[in-house]
């Protein structure tokens, strides 16, 4: 899959559950070869969207393409090329971790030849013969990731994989997702936790109330092309930059300048005899960006 063509394309997706309109004309694309965060508040429609992408629910309207194939007609081929964790992984507590992965391999039509490799990748080789009921939630999530990886998928779709994990578990899981992305796999991770996505994603799709709110590279979303200049006399610096044609505003940390290149800012200030102590990209937190674009106060 080239990085140019999206691995998932959703167009005008509508899903109603009785009077509830869960998805309201949702459009977005997931780029290939990146770790994409699929973000939205609780009830935004994230899980419904994933379920529609995977053919687990039928949308009332709209189209879904995965790896260039239509859903649901292409699903027999699609399921061989994707790995999935949907909601709570469907594992059997009475059985050992290894038998669960064997069942997953048989159920999904993959061989057993990658089982050892995947158990090793998620760090569960030693514990693979213990019953799943004895696993922590983090271990179960890692086992589900091993099961999802059995077919060496091009695309991983993971629904809230970090939910309920302790900090150490989250860190270990994030590291594995990052390693997969670095191998060139496309990974989509949904979450309602902004910090999860900020720490993990290259690209972000934000939905709210069943509609797309924003999508794009995370850096662009957070940085927005602004530069923060730390100077002793903020008022004077702001006037100089405005005179040089650079829009700006003053905040507690310095002067926020809308400029693509920091060297232009430094040159303009230096010409006026002002030497900033710090010039850096003004990176917002995902939380502040999210609240700004969605108006959501409750995540």
């Amino acid at each position: 899959m080239s990085t140019g063509s999206p691995v998932v394309r959703v167009s005008n997706l509508h899903k109603r559950y009785g009077p509830t309109h869960a998805l309201r004309g949702l459009d977005f694309e997931i780029p290939a070869g990146q770790l994409t965060g699929f973000l939205g508040p609780n009830g935004a429609g994230k899980t419904t969207t994933f379920r529609a992408i995977l053919g687990l629910t039928r949308p009332n309207e709209g189209t879904v393409e995965v790896l260039g194939m239509d859903v649901p007609s292409g699903l027999p081929e699609i399921v061989k090329r994707i790995g999935v964790i949907v909601e709570e992984p469907g594992l059997i507590k009475a059985l050992s971790g290894r038998v669960n992965v064997e069942i997953a391999a048989d159920t999904l039509g993959f061989g057993h030849d990658r089982i050892d490799e995947q158990l090793d990748f998620v760090g569960l080789t030693q514990d693979s013969h213990r019953k799943l009921g004895d696993y922590s939630k983090g271990m179960r999530q890692r086992l589900a990731l091993a099961a999802a990886m059995l077919g060496d998928p091009e695309l991983l779709i993971l629904d809230e994989p970090l939910d309920g994990l302790d900090p150490a578990g989250q860190m270990a899981f994030r590291a594995r997702l990052r390693a997969l992305s670095d191998e060139g796999k496309s990974v989509v991770v949904s979450s309602h936790d902004l910090a999860d996505i900020e720490a993990l994603a290259d690209y972000v799709v934000v939905i709210s109330q069943g509609r797309l709110v924003s999508q794009g590279p995370l850096d662009r979303l957070l940085g927005d092309g602004r530069i923060r200049v730390v100077v002793a006399d903020r008022q004077t610096a702001a006037r100089v930059l405005a005179a040089a044609g650079m829009k700006n505003s003053i905040d507690d940390g310095g002067v926020l300048v809308e400029a693509g290149d920091g060297s232009d800012v430094v040159r303009a200030l230096a010409d006026a005899g002002i030497y900033p102590s710090e010039v850096k990209p003004a990176r917002d937190t995902l939380e502040s960006v999210f609240l700004g674009i969605t108006g959501e106060g409750d995540m």
Partner: protein, 259 residues
């Protein structure tokens, strides 16, 4: 084959199947002790002693097989509804990504494995009864090899029919208690209607079971037993019909609702 192997692992690596088989075996062992040891030892006033109707060899072997067949419905239904119901109650069915693809293969695999497991358990129950018969029953002789083989395949038919009914009920309701209630209700209503509603007898599971095992062949009340004069082909057609209905309901139930 990999789907069959997955179902095989789910059935054999959990306690449900061996525990249920053990219960069936204990039940048949209990019946053996009751019929061959306890009943003859009871006073005649209590229905025992010389007046007691105790099956004798070789007919006692078939009598026991009929008792096992009467237990078939709950065994097959519980196994099918509990194992698949557990998948539907969690996200295991969703994780298989089979709602829009490979659904028929999943259905067939579950049916094959659950039916074979139930069949083996019924044979185990029959074996325990047969041991009790061999050790304690009066009379002599055994069944011919062809009669033993006949019992073996007949149990397969019964197990297949009730397994499909269990799968249909769970596919339709997605609730283990509801599915079991449906199967229990069907078993009860079927056994009530079969002797009294002539038209229904033609599609009755009870009548078909009796027809397959030839229950009425040696009985003076054969004409009164539903399915007593039913041909084997007719009985098999009834069982096949119920199996198709069950699997059809399962497919429809999985199709009409989200995974």
């Amino acid at each position: 084959m990999s789907l069959v192997h997955a179902e095989y692992l789910k059935v054999t690596r959990r306690k449900l199947f061996p525990v249920m088989t053990l219960i069936l075996g204990l039940l048949m062992g209990f019946f053996g002790v009751l019929f061959f040891l306890v009943l003859p030892a009871l006073p005649e006033s209590a229905g025992g002693g010389a007046g007691a109707v105790v099956p004798q060899r070789p007919g006692a072997f078939v009598f026991g097989a009929q008792q096992v067949a009467a237990q078939a419905w709950w065994f097959a239904v519980i196994l099918a509804t509990a194992v698949f119901g557990g998948e539907l109650a969690t996200t295991a069915w969703a994780t298989s990504l089979a709602r829009e693809s490979r659904k028929l293969r999943h259905i067939v695999s579950k049916f094959v494995v659950f039916a074979i497991a139930s069949w083996l358990a019924l044979l185990a129950g029959t074996a325990i009864w047969s041991v009790a018969t061999f050790l304690f029953a009066d009379g002599s002789g055994s069944l011919a090899a062809s009669e033993w083989l006949g019992l073996v395949w007949k149990f397969g038919v019964i197990a297949a029919a009730w397994t499909s009914i269990g799968l249909g009920a769970i596919g339709l309701t997605r609730s283990i208690p509801s599915a079991m209630a449906i199967a229990l209700g069907l078993s009860f209503v079927d056994s009530i209607l079969a002797p009294f509603v002539e038209i229904y007898e033609n599609v009755s599971l009870t009548a078909a079971t009796n027809g397959i095992f030839g229950l009425a062949a040696d009985s003076p009340f054969g004409a009164l037993i539903p399915g007593g004069d039913m041909s084997l082909a007719h009985a098999l057609a009834i069982m096949a019909g119920w199996a198709i209905v069950g699997l059809g309901l399962m497919w429809w139930g999985l199709q009409r609702r989200d995974a």
